[in-house]
């Protein structure tokens, strides 16, 4: 069996005495689309932040393609091929849409901290940026400051920034939060398109999106994964129904 794209072993996080993440073991294979669901306060975003080293874990390890990420900074993890978006839109609001995407390409194209290259002289950089803009359908917005885009467009831009660097493990934190139905459909299609062949890990509340996208689902409740498996199996799991889905489905009716 090949090395999983992402592997969590006994991952724990305490804030003081509060145990937010209480020992998570999870293995996500290459090119798998994995959704993490769970009620509010289950620790989904915290789990994301532990994986990407926004917070250090209290115990346990995270392995990316078999490599232990303990002690690495976010930028070092990103360079190893893991990219993420944020629950709250996290872009460069004062820079143009084009510039936002271009910044996401700089490291991937090997520019590092150089001060002997000029960004507007590189055709590869400009073309790469334009290709991403095409993919996320923002080509006609390229010269606007990113902060002036509509909410859905900003979310699309954030996905664009997240995938631009060519990372093969993409983590999306509630990509459709706060969107209308049509916007949600649009973003779902976009995610399917741009994560083709990549490993996708997403936190999502919208069950339509989750069951439409995910190969496998993990259900996180009070810092523990109570079920992992194919969508149908998870839906049928009585524990899940009791803890989460039942309540959520009832609430929808």
């Amino acid at each position: 069996m090949s090395v999983p794209a992402l592997e969590l072993n006994g991952l724990k996080k305490n804030f003081g005495k509060a145990e937010i993440i209480r020992g998570i073991d999870l293995s996500i294979g290459k090119a798998e689309r994995h959704a993490i669901i769970g009620p509010n306060g289950a620790g989904k975003s915290t789990l994301f932040n532990l994986i990407t080293a926004r917070f250090p874990p209290s115990a346990g390890t995270v392995k990316l393609h078999g490599e232990d990420l303990t002690g690495l900074q976010p930028f070092e993890i990103n360079r190893r091929g893991l990219s993420r978006s944020f629950q709250i839109t996290n872009i460069f609001p004062k820079m143009t849409v084009f510039e936002n995407v271009r910044c996401a390409l700089l490291w991937a194209q090997g520019y590092k901290y150089s001060f002997w290259n000029f960004v507007n002289r590189s055709r590869k950089l400009t073309e790469g940026t334009e290709a991403i803009l095409e993919q996320i359908n923002l080509a006609n917005r390229r010269d606007l400051p990113a902060g002036t885009l509509s909410y859905a467009e900003q979310r699309a831009l954030e996905i664009g920034i997240t995938i631009a660097g060519g990372a093969n493990v993409i983590m999306l934190d509630e990509p459709t939060a706060g969107m209308s139905h049509s916007e949600t459909d649009y973003i779902t299609d976009l995610i399917l398109k741009v994560t083709e062949g990549k490993t996708l890990i997403m936190v999502e509340h919208d069950m339509g999106v989750v069951f439409g996208l995910a190969d496998r689902i993990s259900v996180l409740v009070y810092g523990e994964i109570i079920a992992t498996g194919a969508p149908e199996a998870v839906r049928a799991d009585p524990k899940v129904q009791e803890a989460y889905l039942g309540a959520a489905l009832e609430a929808e009716h």
């Binding site: 930028f75 990103n78 901290y113 290259n117 000029f118 960004v119 010269d143």
Partner: protein, 443 residues
């Protein structure tokens, strides 16, 4: 004396893209390199011919001071505008660069073997070296922590000027003689005009290098880190290293400015290091506008004029400079450059003509009112501070007795009427402004 201002303004309107880049103009730039080069050519021509217009030595001194301030302010804006780092102690990098150059001037044998024109490079290297040391611990975060460390380090180094006398020369500073350098194509820099061209050459080279820096990957990422350091980290860049490189580059150019100061004045003292100097450069940069590459240039020109020309007219020049700064911060946070660039959309819509009359109707009375207010300030100052019996004073070429009622009434009336008319016509101006910024309609 107004010419430099208009020239610099006129030279750069299409340079807006540096810290708020619109790539449309960048594409245009790639297609038509002429447009990109034009502001620099104009700037070079202006610098070449200015001494033919302003020939006397004091004008040359003012222009040199302007050039030095331009380099320093642009270097400062590499931090403030482009990387979002507020430094309260940036004078030390210019100062240490300047002191280093003074010491090189005093190393007779070595100094005699190098041409004076390259001396500022040593200033730059020393400024950069200090920035590398300080930056290694101060750039961990932006915001308050960075600001406080910069203030602390600034105070520390300024205080050590009286302790480390060997380097800073104690209270009398360090002085030297620039003419001991190796003659540069026969030029010994005895005359002010020769120093002017040396300084002018350095201002062009430094400004160009700083502009180009902003187009490099590390320069672009400085903007990204300024806007959102966390996001930048998840794009593979360490915010800290991006800040460090910006800081070091800024220290280098600040050191160049210090070296030019050394050449021009041939003396450096504690004044070149202290927090007042650091505060002034913050003021200059903000006044000009941090959002545009050319902003600090305008700030440096305007501030130097206020500092030199206005200070000949009134002892209260710093009061007026402070008021100007305050008004800028409160009403035009984009600075003078932002104020200019606000008009670009109006020109693009072809509606600039619609603004001329409203501007005249509001701004001229406002200017008269402000002058009236300035007269009141001057009269109050004279009334309180002139020697007893010295009741005569001159304001705006008018001599009168400051202890009689009539002048006060006149100045007061001018102030009230001027500002009153401005206030009454302001809504019309606002309406005209909104109209001019709306596409279509009208005309």
């Amino acid at each position: 004396m107004i010419d430099p201002v208009t020239d610099v303004k006129g030279a750069r309107p299409d340079e807006q893209i540096t810290t708020n880049p619109a790539d449309a103009s960048q594409r245009m730039r790639m297609q038509t390199p002429m447009i990109a080069v034009a502001p620099w050519v104009i700037a070079i021509l202006v610098l070449l011919f200015l001494p033919l217009v302003f020939t006397n030595n004091s004008a040359l001194t003012i222009m040199n001071q302007m050039s030095i301030t331009i380099i320093f302010a642009l270097a400062y804006n590499m931090l403030l505008g482009q990387a979002g780092m507020l430094s309260f102690g940036h004078a030390v990098y210019a100062g240490v660069g300047g002191f280093a150059c003074m010491h090189i001037m005093n190393m007779t044998d070595f100094f005699a073997s190098i041409p004076l024109v390259i001396l500022p490079i040593f200033g730059g290297l020393f400024g950069m070296g200090l920035a590398m040391i300080v930056g290694s611990f101060s750039t961990r975060s932006a915001g308050t922590v960075f600001a406080m460390i910069s203030l602390g380090v600034g105070e520390l180094i300024a205080a050590s000027s009286v302790i480390i006398v060997a380097f800073f020369g104690g209270e009398e500073g360090v002085s030297g003689d620039r003419t001991y350098a190796q003659p540069f194509f026969g030029v010994e820099f005895l005359q002010q005009i020769e120093v002017y061209y040396l300084t002018a050459a350095w201002v062009i080279v430094s400004a160009l290098l700083m502009f180009l820096w902003s187009r490099t990957p590390v320069g672009r990422m400085a903007n990204a880190v300024r806007d959102n350091p966390e996001r930048a980290e998840f794009l593979g860049y360490s915010s800290r290293w991006v800040r460090f490189y910006s800081f070091v580059a800024s220290g280098f150019f600040a050191g160049i400015a210090g070296g030019l100061f050394a050449i021009n004045y041939e003396i450096l003292t504690e004044e070149n290091l202290n927090t007042t100097s650091s505060g002034v450069i913050l003021l200059v940069t903000f006044l000009g506008g941090v959002g545009f590459f050319f902003g600090p240039i305008i700030g440096a020109v305007v501030f130097t004029l206020v500092q030199t020309v206005l200070s000949l007219q009134t002892e209260l020049w710093a009061f007026y400079a402070g008021s100007l700064f305050l008004a800028t911060v409160m009403f035009f946070p984009g600075g003078l450059a932002g104020l200019l660039m606000m008009h670009v959309p109006v020109f693009k819509l072809g509606k600039a003509g619609h603004l001329v009359m409203p501007y005249i109707k509001t701004l001229i009375p406002a200017a008269i009112g402000v002058l009236g207010l300035a007269a009141l300030v001057e009269m109050t100052f004279h009334y309180r501070h002139a020697a007893t019996g010295d009741n005569e004073m001159t304001v705006f070429w008018t001599t009168f007795d400051s202890h009689t009622l009539l002048p006060w009434l006149i100045a007061g009336a001018i102030t009230i009427i001027g500002l009153g008319i401005a206030r009454a016509t302001a809504p019309d101006l606002k309406e005209a402004w909104n109209e001019a910024n709306t596409a279509g309609g009208g005309a």
